[in-house]
Every structure is written in structure tokens, then in C-alpha cells.
Symmetry: C2
Subunit: 448 residues, 2 copies
């Protein structure tokens, strides 16, 4: 990547106080490149850079940075400078940064800001950060229904600086209720004297401010919208969510799912910025819970101690068998949690999902069981081979079944199915898989 | 969701041949809702629906469907009807559907299409489906540099029907090389007689047709673009990739990562449509590979058989200990693979990543080790408790280290780090964790 080669160059310029060199670079680089570079610099280097770059460039850079980094940088600047930069940012991005400030700092900076901008931020901060209200921006264009098309274009021109997107103009009634929407190209392609109420699309798709951000993202994706209006419970237009937020939401939600599936609580912060204490907090809870589950396996083993004494060869295959169960469970649960996450399956689909996964478990189990029978049979005799082989078949089907059913049931109960992590399924299948193994051993070996 | 309640209604209308009812519904529903409903209908019901809905609505519906489903439906229609519908679709979406047809079918339908549209599809099909060329659409607007702003708006108006997005106009030289870009609102806000070359943004961000689709998506996200121009090796403008493709790409890539992390090969098809044979093929390879790895654990156990004979209590904690190693490894690897996937860390970050993960492993290991010492100590005496507790500390640090280092090294070698799945780390840590356990047991128990 280009930024890799730029990093030493930027560092050298800062070290040698080449303010002009940085300005030259600023002409070539966009905010995305700066946002890539800045987190790799030391705080002292960032401080120098922020003195040299123009304010407008800095505001865009801060919008591109993740809010945790941006908050860290802004807190290292003087309160007045931080307030200026936050005013220059899009209000929705500025709000994300405010969420990362300690309460007292946030209050002091808000006091230093222009009252109008501060009021906007306070309003946005009232919504949970992962709700539609928490990610919307109030920078939209709204006009009354009796305006003419050419007047609407003029009003667009006047707010071109402030509005975050100019692709839609919303039409609202005197009580600010949403009536319709016009796209810029509708306006441009219409006869100038037409009233906007005649060309607008009525009852456009909208989202309530208290809806989940994922719901908003799905609406934007499914209907190919560039912006989605956000309304309150009385249908008053509060703000819009723009296309550029969708990618962030999708990435955030996928990251959460992946972290949960791996058996951690979501970090909610970039990995780079997560310190050891945070990582421990996010991981230890599940580990201790699974530890208690793992103790079950030692109970099972202890209670079957005399059977294992009589057939010492059985012992050697315990990790292999519970490992297979865990692997099959992990494959199944990740595929299924993702299918649930993207809205492909839900509890109504339980029967065919179960049938499919049990069939897959059977086929996979037969192949692996045969491999186990041959490999173990050659080494420890046909009797042990038969026990291991048939256990593999049963454990595989069992693991596939548990991993298929649990996430669907949790989803139904309103729990995020991604809490059924690979480690949880593995731990569940460890104890039950051992029970299956030692029961089959008891049946097959005593009959011979 | 609304579609849940609609499904029985739609079914009843089809069963009772209420064509008018379907038309009434079509006035209320958008293509996204139809695309949600259609995969839940039987093929015979879909066939009826397709006779009743107007062609324009059907084309949009097919664009919203996943390509596998769309291909299945189109193959069930007559060749002429299928050709008409494919002509009405956006060329990039139509190409995705063609990729799912058997070769012979694709050729026959292409022959039945208008030559111009067929040629466009053939051109797009030359690029791999996951490259920038494979997802671009040729439906863009390009003008010569000496055109006036008002003429550019006029040419926009003329192509309004065909172009997929009207938000950018590209400026190209006579050899079709990309010179610059204008946004629609630039054009509207400019004096009519200005030549476009004076207001265009020069050297816009572009992507090569052979680049990966993920690269293209990142460019669109990082630079907040609504469309990204795609060029060939001579910088000639071939097509554009639009914002609405970004969400699909991100979802596709996240799904692949999740499936790989769970220990399967990516399905590359919606779960709903993946049959048992496909699921088995995607899962069995890794399972057999891990099976061979799992056999190592039985080797380790066999070679330590006499030590286990002497200290039978050790046996009961084998699954617990390798389970803990697997859980810690799974947590670490998923978090890290995701951080690599979103571009947050790479091999240059190895040292701090390793330091962080080993520190987390140490803290987590000490807590869990203490729990193990107390729990096992109370039950089986302090000696066994000490062995289990200190093994947990070592295995935890070891698992964290392996899970932190492997994905970064694979990434460096050009291998997708997501192949280091949770099951792979678990299997690796199983055998080595056992070695650690039995070695520690040997050291601590013989010395007492």
C-alpha cells in the first residue's frame, strides 16, 4: 500500500520540521490516506502534524479516523482547537467522537463550541450509538410541498456547503412530518415551474430513530438508497443516514459476529487500540464459563475409570474423538450463524436445516468413521477399531445436530445466535461425545 | 417482517388464480420484498407469478435475487422470455446470473438476446467474477473534455434510462482514456457555458479491471465515492462499480471469512441453496486433514502411557486442558484474523501483537490456572492440582502465541489468514498441549 512507503517520509518531515514538505504532501493525499497514516504515528508526531495541516483537511481526516483514535487526538489538543475541529466535522461523525470522551471533557468541549452546533450534538447524543438515531446526521435538505422545482434547486445551492448529501431533497409539512422525497436528478430533469409535490415520491421508505442501526443498513441496501430518512414516533423528519455509513455498519456487525463466534465478547473498539485489560475482560468470562463445562468431561472420565482401566487402548483416542466433534460443530455453527445473520434462515426453517445438517453429518461421519476404523483397527485390533469408528459416526451426527438447532432456538428466544460460539459447541460436544464414546465401548466390548 | 405475513397471502392468490390480486400487491411491494418472497415459493408458484408480473418489475426482482436463485428461475422459463428479462437487467447483474448457467444454456440464451446486449455480457464474462472487471457495469456516462456543462447535462438526460448511476459524468479523451470526473451537482451548480474540462476533478481514483473486488470496495468506502471507474492496463475507461455493489462485496467477504474461520471452505452460494453434497465437499477436506492432526494426540498419549498408568488422576483432566487451549486459541485467532481482514494489522505489527496476546494469555492463564489449582487440588490433592494449574498457565500462553503468530505469517506468505481456523488452532494446541501437560506432570510428580 502507498501509505506504507509514505510513513517513513512523513516521520522524517516531522522530525526535520519540514512544514512545507507536509503541505506538499497534503496536496497529494486525501483524508483516507491521512487516516491510514495517523494511527501509526507517535502522539508527539500527531501533535506537530495537526499544527501544520489546514483545519478543513483536519476535520475530514478526523471523520475518516475511528472515533476512539479521533477522540484520543482531540483530547491532546487545546479545548478551543478541539471545539473548532468538531464544529467543522459532520455532526454524526462528531457525535461518535463525543461518545468516546469522558463525560466531563465532553461537557467542557461542548461549552467551548458554537451554541447551535453544540445543541445538534447534544440532540444526537440522546440516541444509543448503535440505533438509527445514533448514526443519523441532521445535515439534510427539506422543503415545503408548494415550492417549485427551480426554487428547490436554488435552495439546494444555498445549503450545498452544509448538507452531507445533495442527492435527495425531502418534502415536509409545516409540522415537519415527512411527505415525500425528490432526487436531484428528478429535479434537474423536471420543468422549472412544477411544484415539488407533483414530482416527489410519496411516502418514502423511512426508519424510526429508535430502530437498530442494522435495520437501517438493510433498508439502504435492499432498496438501493443513497440516503434514508430517520423520523420520530410522530413521523417528524429528524435526520438522514447516508450510504457511506452502511459499509461501517456492516463491518462493525460482521466483526461482532466473528468475535462472538470465536468465543469472546465483542471488543467494540479497534484491535489496535484494545489494551490487555480490555482483551482480558472480553475473553475471561466465556473462558471461565467454558471451564466449568470442561470440568464435566473430567466427571465423565472419572465415572468411567474402571472401563478405561480394563481397555487402556481406548484412552489414546479420547482427544481425537472429542476433537472431531468440536470441528464438525464449529463448521456447522459458523455457517449457520452467518446464514441467520444475513437473514437467510430463521426458526421456521428448523426442519429442513436440521435434515440437511444431519444428512451432512451422516455422510461426513461415515467417511471419517471408516478412516478411524481402518487406522485404529490396524493398530489396536478390530474391536477397538469398531468402537472408535462407530463413535465417530455418532459424535459427528450429534455435533451437527446440536450446532444446527441451538443457534436457531436462541434466535427465537431473542438472543444473538452468535453467542453460540465454536468454543461453546466444542465444550458441549466434549462431554457428551465422551459419554457416547464410553457408552459405545461398554456395549461393543462387553458383548464380544 | 412484513414478508412473513405476505407469504400465505401470495400463495393463496396463486392457488386461486387471482391475477388481479397479485397486480394489486405489485403496486405496494418493491423488488426487495419480492426478492424476499420468491425464494420461499415452490417452482410452480414462481412460474405463475412470472406470467403475471410486468417485465420491468421482474427484471428488478431478478437483480435483487442472489444469482443462483435467479439463474434457476430463468432456466425454468422459455428461452425467449429469459433473454428478454436478461436484456432488461443491469448488465453487471445479468452477467452474475450467466455465470451460474451451464455453458450450453448460457450460449443459447446469449444467441436469443439482442446482439448489442449479448456482446456486453460476453465482455463482462471475460473477467473473473470476484475481480473489479467482473462486478463493473458498462452503463456509465462519458463525455469529451471540450463539451460545455449544459451540453453535459443534456447528454445525461438522454441516457437517463440506460445509465446505472447519474451522479458522475466521466471525461475521456479520444482514445477513451480517463481524464477526469464531474459530479452531477458540480454540473448543476456551474455556469452553463463552462467547458467540462475546467470543472472536472482531474485524475480521479480508479481501479484496474484485474484488481480484486475487495480492493475496489475499499476504495469506494475509503474515499466515500458513489461510483468507481474501472480501467484497463492502458487506462481506458471500461465501466464503473457503484456503491450498491459495496454492501454485497463486504457481505460476501465477511461470509467467506466466517466460514473459513469455522473450518470450512467458503460455500460461494447461499446456505439455503447449498445441497448436502456441496456442504460435504466444503467441509470434508479440512476434517480429514484435522483428523490426521488429531491422530498425533493419540501418539502422544500412547507414548506417555506408563506415566498415566502411575498417576491415573491425570487422565481425567486431559479434555479439560486441551479444551482450554482450544478456546483461548479460538478467541485469539478470530479477533486477529478479523483485524487483518479489515486492514488493521499486518506482519509489521507482529511484535506488539505478540506482546499483547502473550500478556493477555498470561493474565487469563493465571486466573484459570488458579481456578484449576483450587478445584483439582480440593478433589485430587495438591500435587495433581499443581500439575493441572501450572499446565493451564503454560497451555494458555502457548495457545495465544500460536494463534497470534500463525495468521500474520500466513498473510505474509500471501495465504488468506482465515485458513487458520479455530479448528486448526484447536487441533494444533491439542497435541502440543498434551505434551506440555505430560511433561509438566513428569517434572513435578517425580520430584516430589
Amino acid at each position: 500500500m502507498a501509505t506504507d512507503e509514505l510513513l517513513p517520509e512523513v516521520r522524517a518531515m516531522i522530525a526535520q520540521r519540514q512544514e512545507r514538505g507536509i503541505h506538499g504532501l497534503a496536496d497529494r493525499l486525501g483524508p483516507a490516506e491521512w487516516a491510514d497514516l495517523v494511527p501509526r504515528l507517535d502522539p508527539a508526531e500527531v501533535a506537530v502534524l495537526f499544527q501544520w495541516l489546514p483545519e478543513s483537511e483536519l476535520a475530514e481526516l478526523l471523520e475518516e479516523l475511528d472515533p476512539v483514535s479521533a477522540a484520543g487526538i482531540l483530547r491532546s489538543l487545546s479545548r478551543a482547537v478541539a471545539a473548532d475541529l468538531l464544529e467543522a466535522m459532520d455532526p454524526d461523525d462528531a457525535t461518535d467522537v463525543f461518545e468516546e470522551f469522558p463525560k466531563a471533557d465532553a461537557e467542557q468541549i461542548l461549552t467551548a463550541m458554537e451554541p447551535e452546533e453544540a445543541a445538534e450534538i447534544r440532540e444526537l447524543m440522546a440516541y444509543p450509538p448503535d440505533s438509527a438515531g445514533g448514526i443519523m446526521t441532521p445535515a439534510f435538505v427539506a422543503v415545503p410541498p408548494d415550492l417549485r422545482a427551480d426554487q428547490a434547486v436554488t435552495s439546494l445551492r444555498q445549503v450545498a456547503e452544509e448538507a452531507e448529501t445533495l442527492f435527495y431533497v425531502y418534502v415536509i409539512d409545516p409540522a415537519e412530518r415527512l411527505l415525500g422525497v425528490l432526487s436531484l436528478h428528478n429535479l434537474v430533469l423536471t420543468r422549472p415551474e412544477t411544484p415539488v409535490s407533483q414530482v416527489m415520491v410519496r411516502d418514502p421508505i423511512r426508519v424510526r430513530a429508535d430502530a437498530d442501526q442494522e435495520t437501517a443498513a438493510r433498508l439502504l441496501i435492499d432498496h438501493n438508497l443513497l440516503a434514508l430518512p430517520v423520523v420520530d414516533e410522530e413521523d417528524r423528519l429528524l435526520g438522514i443516514i447516508t450510504q457511506d455509513d452502511v459499509a461501517d455498519i456492516l463491518e462493525e456487525e460482521a466483526t461482532e459476529d466473528i468475535e462472538r463466534l470465536g468465543g469472546s465478547q465483542p471488543l467494540d473498539t479497534p484491535y489496535r487500540l484494545a489494551n490487555v485489560a480490555l482483551l482480558v475482560r472480553r475473553r475471561l468470562g466465556w473462558l471461565l464459563f467454558l471451564f466449568v463445562g470442561g470440568l464435566l468431561t473430567s466427571q465423565v472420565l472419572t465415572s468411567f475409570a474402571d472401563r478405561l482401566d480394563r481397555e487402556a487402548a481406548l484412552l489414546a483416542f479420547i482427544p481425537l474423538i472429542i476433537g472431531i466433534g468440536g470441528n464438525v460443530g464449529s463448521q456447522t455453527v459458523t455457517t449457520l450463524v452467518r446464514a441467520i445473520g444475513v437473514g437467510e434462515v430463521d426458526l421456521r426453517d428448523l426442519s429442513w436445516v436440521l435434515a440437511k445438517e444431519m444428512a451432512v453429518g451422516l455422510v461426513v461421519g461415515l467417511v471419517m468413521g471408516l478412516a478411524g476404523l481402518v487406522r485404529v483397527g490396524l493398530q489396536d485390533g478390530v474391536r477397538i477399531g469398531l468402537v472408535v469408528g462407530s463413535t465417530i459416526v455418532c459424535v459427528t451426527i450429534w455435533a451437527a445436530t446440536v450446532a444446527a438447532v441451538l443457534p436457531l432456538i436462541l434466535r427465537r428466544l431473542g438472543v444473538d445466535p452468535a453467542v453460540v460460539s465454536a468454543p461453546l459447541i466444542t465444550t458441549l460436544v466434549d462431554a457428551t461425545g465422551l459419554l457416547i464414546y464410553l457408552t459405545i465401548a461398554g456395549l461393543l466390548l462387553t458383548q464380544v
